[in-house]
Symmetry: C2
Subunit: 356 residues, 2 copies
Amino acid sequence: MDDLGQADRAEPEETRIRAARIQDVAQLADVSTATVSRALATPERVSPEARARVLEAIAKTGYVPNPAARSLRSQKTFMVLVVLPDLSNTFFSKILRGIEETLFEAGYGMIISDLDGSPEKEAHFAAFTAAGRVDGAILLNGHLFGQSREGEGQPARLTIPLVALCEAIPGADIPQIEIDNRAAASRMTQHLASLGHRRIAYVSGPANNILERERFLGFKDGLEAAGLPFDPALVIPGDYTIEAGIRAGQGLVARAERPTAVFCTSDEMAIGMMRTLLSAGLRVPHDISVAGFDDIEFAAVAEPSLTTIHQPRRELGQAAASALIDCLQGRASPKRIRLDTELVLRDSVAPLQGGA
Amino acid sequence: MDDLGQADRAEPEETRIRAARIQDVAQLADVSTATVSRALATPERVSPEARARVLEAIAKTGYVPNPAARSLRSQKTFMVLVVLPDLSNTFFSKILRGIEETLFEAGYGMIISDLDGSPEKEAHFAAFTAAGRVDGAILLNGHLFGQSREGEGQPARLTIPLVALCEAIPGADIPQIEIDNRAAASRMTQHLASLGHRRIAYVSGPANNILERERFLGFKDGLEAAGLPFDPALVIPGDYTIEAGIRAGQGLVARAERPTAVFCTSDEMAIGMMRTLLSAGLRVPHDISVAGFDDIEFAAVAEPSLTTIHQPRRELGQAAASALIDCLQGRASPKRIRLDTELVLRDSVAPLQGGA
DNA sequence: TCACCCTATGTAATCGATTACATGCAACTT
DNA sequence: AAGTTGCATGTAATCGATTACATAGGGTGA
């Protein structure tokens, strides 16, 4: 395919339209390229007349600075990498939107990397940042990457500003944007307890996940605050997916002595859970209450509608992007931002019924 | 901050880690930069010994080619722009995943632009592509952009390979990846009719949307095939969102003479619809059947589970990315790819009940 | 009036990789 | 043996914008 290269070049007629260069603009405006560049970057350092001529020439030629050239010289890409574990997860998409909005307003583009649990991909994108393809990165995956292979040589690593979103990265000295998972989980647990529930099951996130650890601590906090004992038998493993909720539900249905309330640490799991319970003939919330976490769009229209913890997803994205932009532009950025959550009461949770 | 430039240079100690350049590798391997470049791009044109030395030097220095420099010279960015109307929509996120996967395997990165209905954003990204920041673009928004302002000057526009996904762009001579919306809608309509339903309502997508037009035609096809008359009163405007489904549902509940089945042209609307009907005391599917379109994750766990049209979303994304990569690499790419849909039968649709 | 400073602008080095062209050398042809 | 071919490699031009440094001209103060 590269053999075509010469043909492209030889062709005198405009087979392919060439974009205007800064040279073209300079010629048309009768100034030097330096003046054109300055007219755009630091208008106050150019005389009004020259600036006007330059702007006119730009309009006439449709000039747009070549980003590769600009980036090569100035070592800035105006691109930000967003690393996340699963692009198709509803929870992330709204956060992404918040990030994109904010980045866009500041003139940054967004490159997305869906790690999909693949270490190779992770390595690739670590190299990607190291190669200076992006000015900064927002991590939604709960850990730093490019874990320095300690071996000989110790290749020089470029470090760029990072921000951790949602899954705080312990020990990393970077801005972290998060909600207070522990407090929120505690609050939900206490809410369930306050409705009379004594046997409250907990469907967890993936083991070792930082969110999970926080929420689990919050769950225990809540139990303690309500004076309830912690029963390991009521902890059901999950991984935030619908399927995990379904599996957890099947396990519950099969039990002789069922809990009267289930706290699922994601809405997806809660919805899968409710589905399974209902299919098995149990009534939610009459026979068993189900609570979620996240407040995704579908929580409000689930049947029954889901009591959950509202996370300000868009705002989280915006805050992360803002923090990163602060770093990129040399401003101080807050080291830790905690956004408030809200307990959203809907129909999937009800006071303990007399019998059960 | 650029004043540091000299300091960097003067400073012998590593104040700031500089990424290895091709020069460094060349020196270490005792070859020229051209050989290093060739060892990477066209290994067969370099002697095995030289190649080995180069690779070793690369490993030792952790060299990664500077993408800005590479792109400046070779006019390639290895980046693809994906333009979509709403990033937070569940429907798109799985498609995105398919796109990302495929692009990644081919060595391309993905830049996402969420248009969010903003013409300015659209203009910005049109300029973005024109500036050569990406090698190609995948459009999910149903129309081309950068609508040439015809005025004087006629700025030179760089044109890059494009691919349209899902919403075919009429008149555009670019590869289009889609499903047969019309046939799928017809099929669903006939399915409803075959169960005895005579009054079938249709909840539409946004007016002027190409998907909508196709599906609407399919709906009419289906009615005709089933020998049912088309009744404009049974067409309810929507826009694919949950809220639209809720509103449409409220409208239905208020009616004196209700349809016995509703075909919502998105799962989101169907779920909102079911929610509203159930809240109003109607039973789904006993009193009224509800069908959706898309088969998003939540369709299977809705209550009742949703009968819908399955779209192979991940495959759609993959196909679009493949087609684009074909274009980018000078290979021929199919002009039109149609992936198959599937009618998924679940619980939200049932045969017409005796009474109603 | 001279020295000095400040502003507006131009000249040219620079960022780092790719690649056209040149060169040197070995192998093969006649 | 001279000429031809072809491979491996090096040299240096090139991509397009930014920006350090140089310079010219106008204004101010002594």
